[in-house]
Amino acid sequence: MTLAAPTPTGNAVVASGYAARRALGSVLSFFRRQPVGSIGVVLMLIVAFAGIFANVLAPYNPTANDFAAMTQPPSWAHWLGTDQLGRDLLSRILFGARTALVVGVTSAVVGGASGLVLGVGSAYFGGRIDLVLQRLLDIVMSFPLIIMALAVVSIFGTGVHNVIFAITIPLIPRCARVVRSSALAIREVPYIDAARALGYSHRRIILRHMVPNVVAPFLIMLTSFVGQAILAEAALSYLGLGVQEPVPAWGLMLQGGAEEYATTAPWIAIFPGLAIMLTVFGINLFGDALRDVLDPKLRDR
């Protein structure tokens, strides 16, 4: 369906494709040029570090109840205080970073990769395949997220894998759309026709020529997906559909007890909230900077 209106990101993205490889090469210049984006990178590194080394860093077992130390305010023994079951909040937040990374990165990568395949495939083959694929993606995209998530959780139960599954599905069509519209623009470029005329295989044309050209918008989107997935997990948890106790997860820490103790023990609610906010904030700062770097039109002269 070549008649589709280009999406707003599509416009920016088409042009950015050509510059992708050049810009990606220089990490150092990113730091020099994007001080704000660097803050984002630092925040992301802190979270990654916390998540990877949680078992070394955490002072307590994140799931052990301690009824002798319930709802304690921050102190030397418990830097961020304890929750209503006496669990150490710092330890839970550190391990929570791991859950956030797993949920965020897996959803983003799986959702993004599926979107990439569908988007590029749809654009390259065009015709009937494109038409059918687009309708399928339309359905998923217009379908209320919450029903999908509720159904997934009701059918399979609320484990980390199922939550990731529920969060990933809606990301696929969003990615596929953007990728498709950038890929469509590439398809019209003469050298693809040339490659076809030379009898190159589909696989080779797609992998060698089309995929590299949609990498820039794809990467920008992937970053934002990580943040969105972490927020989606929090929202699902709030509705009681997220990761399950006693797994340490930030969204889960904001649900139930946190709301109940918001006035009497505010630290239970504030620290996991801050963790989510700073992480997603960092990811978004980085994403914005990446976009500015990869898109020559937005680059400051």
């Binding site: 799931t63 319930m70 009701s154 009681g240």
Partner: protein
């Protein structure tokens, strides 16, 4: 944050205030005032219908009980008392025919909201619909009345209940707060009429229902108790989120919620509002329970089931848990405040209730080893409800870890949770047993094998248990009843460990202290017609 303000002086008062509110039910010594509208929050989404004979949710009771009367009921001035009193009858009858016939005299001059007069026919028709529902009529509690043989109106003012056998379980069952009396004429015209309409003889009359949001009632000028109700009207607002309800009471958008809050809410409201908040507390006729699936290995082995119970530190952890969840009292299968409940010394003889938790856990490990189930790991099915299911879940996982048992939770919303239990698709499940009027003999029916009790998901057969139950149900001597109940407790909890009982719930109702004339009982289903409630404003 609210707690940064100087409430230090008030804090000291909190404890005294709670104690005072508990000891003085605020009924005596004050003259009730007439007038005013009571606004309260209902802790649920709107019920499917306002037909209590059909529904199972308290949302129906909390919304529409003020429009209806029942035949007999718990005493509104003392809902915890095991002695039931008349609502639509004139006097509690003495049974005749060896305890098998109860003859009730019905009040005269009682009017339905549509103006028609209530007779014994209406009472009999309602009870027949509840106990002997015709095809296509849903009556979820009909199995509570297995002892009833027939219900007949023998004159316009007399209703006779004939029982199959004499039992002390009958009168508490008859005080079912869901057993609203409907008009026979309406039922004859359309037996489903009450699923869509409201017409009763209660202290209030229905005004309007805003779908899914609120229900409004106004004083019934023809109410058969002269001078009641005190209120001019009421408005019940559905508010499923706890935070909303707490905020609403704090800001006086609502005066009370009748179900029960966790203790943290009581403390928070007391701290913020001091003596503007009164609190009533009571043990709750609801308890948490773990059921192992006897059809799954190794839970077919009583030693494994007993080990799971032995691992749980009930006495030690109950005080801490009762600070954060609506659970409180250690007890067996029988409601702890009932005169028939086992004493503490008796309980301590039962596995899982031993006073020494270390000894108990050592025995648990020994049993697991003996049964060849060391390093057991399984999935714990749980329901997607915060209070108290999730707290039970977190607690249990931690307790079992202490005997080397690894449990992972599988939490499902209500429908799929039921479905998994019914399909026998679980290892061990967390569930609850919530009854209304305390009926010690009948309430343990839940623990009988599935063939007798459809609400038991343990998947086992046990004729001995059934015999014990039947003997108990027919026993009329209180001392012997108590001994049989103890034997039943010991058999179910220890010998067979068919069920692992956790803690009894605690009902804590903090409310605006200008609400008077309402007395807490052991069930949130009971005493909700608001007839005696008044506002001191």
């Amino acid at each position: 944050m609210a707690n940064t303000r100087a409430f230090a002086s008030r804090l000291a008062v909190v404890a005294c205030g709670i104690a005072a509110a508990l000891s003085a039910p605020a009924l005596a010594g004050e003259t009730p005032k007439h007038g005013g509208i009571l606004t309260y929050v209902i802790p649920a989404d709107a019920p499917p219908s306002f037909d209590a004979q059909r529904e199972e949710t308290y949302a129906t009771i909390h919304a529409a009980a003020p429009f209806y009367s029942t035949l007999i009921r718990a005493n509104p001035m003392d809902p915890a008392s095991p002695v039931m009193v008349c609502d639509l009858c004139t006097e509690m009858p003495k049974p005749t025919d060896g305890g098998r016939t109860y003859t009730f005299t019905i009040r005269q001059g009682v009017k339905f909201a549509d103006g028609s007069t209530l007779t014994a026919d209406d009472v009999a028709a309602s009870w027949n619909k509840i106990i002997f529902p015709p095809r296509g009529v849903i009556s979820p509690r009909q199995s509570n009345f297995l002892m009833v043989d027939s219900v007949k109106a023998t004159s316009p003012t007399t209703v006779v209940f004939h029982l199959k056998f004499a039992t002390d379980a009958f009168i508490p069952a008859l005080a079912d707060p869901y057993a609203w009396i409907y008009s026979k004429a309406k039922l004859d015209k359309d037996i489903h009429w009450y699923e869509k309409n409201i017409d009763g003889t209660g202290p209030f009359r229905f005004v309007r229902y805003d779908i899914g949001q609120s229900i409004t009632g106004v004083r019934n000028p023809d109410y058969f108790r002269k001078g009641l109700p005190y209120l001019d009207g009421f408005k019940g607002i559905f508010a499923p989120k706890q935070a909303t309800r707490v905020d609403a009471i704090r800001s006086d958008r609502a005066a009370i919620e009748f179900r029960g809050f966790p203790p943290s809410v009581r403390d928070e409201l007391k701290e913020d509002l001091g003596d503007k908040i009164a609190v009533q507390e009571s043990d709750w006729n609801c308890g948490g329970l773990v059921t192992p699936n006897h059809k799954r290995k190794p839970f077919d082995d009583p030693r494994v089931r007993r080990a799971l119970s032995l691992a749980i530190n009930r006495w030690g952890d109950a005080p801490a848990l009762s600070k954060i969840a609506i659970v409180h009292t250690v007890g067996g299968l029988t409601f702890p405040d009932s005169p028939l409940a086992p004493s503490k010394a008796q309980l301590e003889q039962i596995a899982g209730y031993w006073p020494d938790i270390n000894k108990s856990r050592a025995e648990a490990r020994r049993l697991l080893k003996e049964a060849g189930a060391e390093n057991l790991s399984f999935t714990l099915l749980n329901r997607n409800v915060d209070q108290p299911y999730k707290y039970y879940g977190i607690w249990l996982v931690d307790q079992w870890a202490k005997i080397g048992v690894h449990a992972t939770q599988r939490v499902l919303p209500t429908g799929p949770w039921f479905s998994a239990m019914r399909a026998e698709d679980f290892d061990v499940t967390v569930e609850g047993n919530c009854q209304n009027v305390v009926n010690p003999l009948a309430d343990v029916g839940k623990y009988l094998p599935h063939t007798i009790s459809s609400g038991n998901y343990g998947n086992f057969e046990d004729q001995h248990e059934i015999d014990l139950y039947n003997q108990m149900l027919r026993e009329l001597d209180k001392t012997k009843q108590k001994a049989l109940l103890l034997a039943f407790n010991k058999y179910v909890l220890d010998t067979q460990a068919h069920g692992i009982f956790l803690l009894w719930w605690r009902r804590i109702v903090p409310y605006r202290s200008y609400v008077k004339g309402w007395k807490i009982g052991p069930s949130h289903y009971v005493n909700q017609d608001l007839g005696t409630v008044w506002l001191d404003k």
